[in-house]
Symmetry: C2
Amino acid sequence: MVRFPASCNVFMDEFGRIAHFFAPLASGFSGSLNLRDDAALLAPSAGHELVITKDALSEGVHFLGSESAGLIASKALRTNLSDLAAKGAKPLVYFLALMLPPGTGDAWLEAFCAGLENDQKIFGISLAGGDTISTHGKLSISITAIGEVPLGSMLKRSGAQAGDAIYVSGTLGDSALGLRSLQNGLGMAALEERYLLPQPRTALGLHLRTLAHACMDVSDGLVQDLGHICAASGVGALVHTPNIPLSPEAATQPGALTAALSGGDDYELLFTSPASAHAALEALSAEVGVRISRIGEVVSGSGVRVLDASGDEVKLTSTGYVHR
Amino acid sequence: MVRFPASCNVFMDEFGRIAHFFAPLASGFSGSLNLRDDAALLAPSAGHELVITKDALSEGVHFLGSESAGLIASKALRTNLSDLAAKGAKPLVYFLALMLPPGTGDAWLEAFCAGLENDQKIFGISLAGGDTISTHGKLSISITAIGEVPLGSMLKRSGAQAGDAIYVSGTLGDSALGLRSLQNGLGMAALEERYLLPQPRTALGLHLRTLAHACMDVSDGLVQDLGHICAASGVGALVHTPNIPLSPEAATQPGALTAALSGGDDYELLFTSPASAHAALEALSAEVGVRISRIGEVVSGSGVRVLDASGDEVKLTSTGYVHR
């Protein structure tokens, strides 16, 4: 492969860029037709159906713009992979629309595609098609990611039942605290990485198909997203703050609980399971190497209530979560 | 439905907008889960496979920005529908990523969605999911459109054979001349409409599955796109300028032939068929009400040669197509 030094702003034409940068990312999937046709061909495996999600990101809104091209590519792909993970879907292919500001050179594009290539190997997904266009504005990226599940087995937001326990993977709040660190030059590297490079819980999601009643990924903040599960399922939820999983780095930070409850960009899995699944979930946590914490329970009614160690309700205000 | 006067810049939050504007567009497709989950569910009909295309458009590059919101929506959807038509695919569903500049009000969004709703009825397609985000820049739209074909029957760019006749639907060059009219205030309404509102040849494409060896839609200009068919098929092509179909409005304009050969944005179907298909194509043209013109023939070798009425070759220069 021809390599351009990073300082060299070389431009290929559209067809040259597709053949040079993007076609290699599609070579593992025959239905891509090597990106040489107007469309891609895809069918799910026998007895399966497709799970399809589409997320868009724009510079200065969903990422800072100062990240390396490879990190931007990874974040764009991984936010979509997190949606597939939350639905229990095995990743198959993705379609990429890249809206490039004027002056985007081939060196940037090469680094962007290297980020995609690395993640394709990690998550077992292949590029299948897309479009690269110019825009008068900031960089935007839209990805449509497609996975598959056995017929009828997709994890949904609906399905939570009163009496279910509520679980969350990993730790919460790191990403919001990481963004704060990046914006204020605090140098909290471990937290910053959680913002810059989401970790889709793909393996965990696949196993949850038989263990969870409802599932989604935490992207808008725990309380808001749990509210979506409650609304879709026609139930309420209690969350106990002492059980919220915080990383060691986050636990020492001011505002950690607020970040964990409403910070967003966590890309952890939030799910409800019957009590009978608890032992299996403990074994699964060990098997996939991802912490799973029981943070509350599904109750009849509606809405999310957050309780502290004393059982008193805390509420979100403009300064964070406080006693009511 | 609540209606906002066009002058009223009302803003709902993201979830309000999804429920109010977009969920009704997804109500005809159960796999959309009413846009209330993280992903959509889709499986092709028995014996079919999916055809998937993704096109993006950005203001000031792919549309002017002065069009009505409804026309912008139609153009975004229809350029994708044209790709499906060129592959012989029956439209099923689409996913929409909408990157909105600051200050985009609900009235604009309502008109945009009305344009989508109208085209959904015409082309038999339904919204299945997507994302609406803010961007620091111009309006951009990315659509992923999905159709289906009987297994193995998708029309491809490859497949053209020496001896095939080359056909094109409709008339060429109108869109490029229409853009010129819009940019220069020439008031050529019929031509301008061809630029503003593409006409995907969906019904024609479905029938071509059994009649064409190779097919694509003309979006970058006849000569360039025919070159893609030649490259994919390992053949060459001769095009005869007297056979290029021009509309009455285009025929009177300076530069009409150049616009027809290289203008782009035509969204007509370009295909090759064996001589044995000619009578069936004439009948098909009458059945679907779309002109079909035989413009040349596939030859062995490579590349596209354009010949005038005398059989002399004409070449594209900076001032248009001229004798060599």
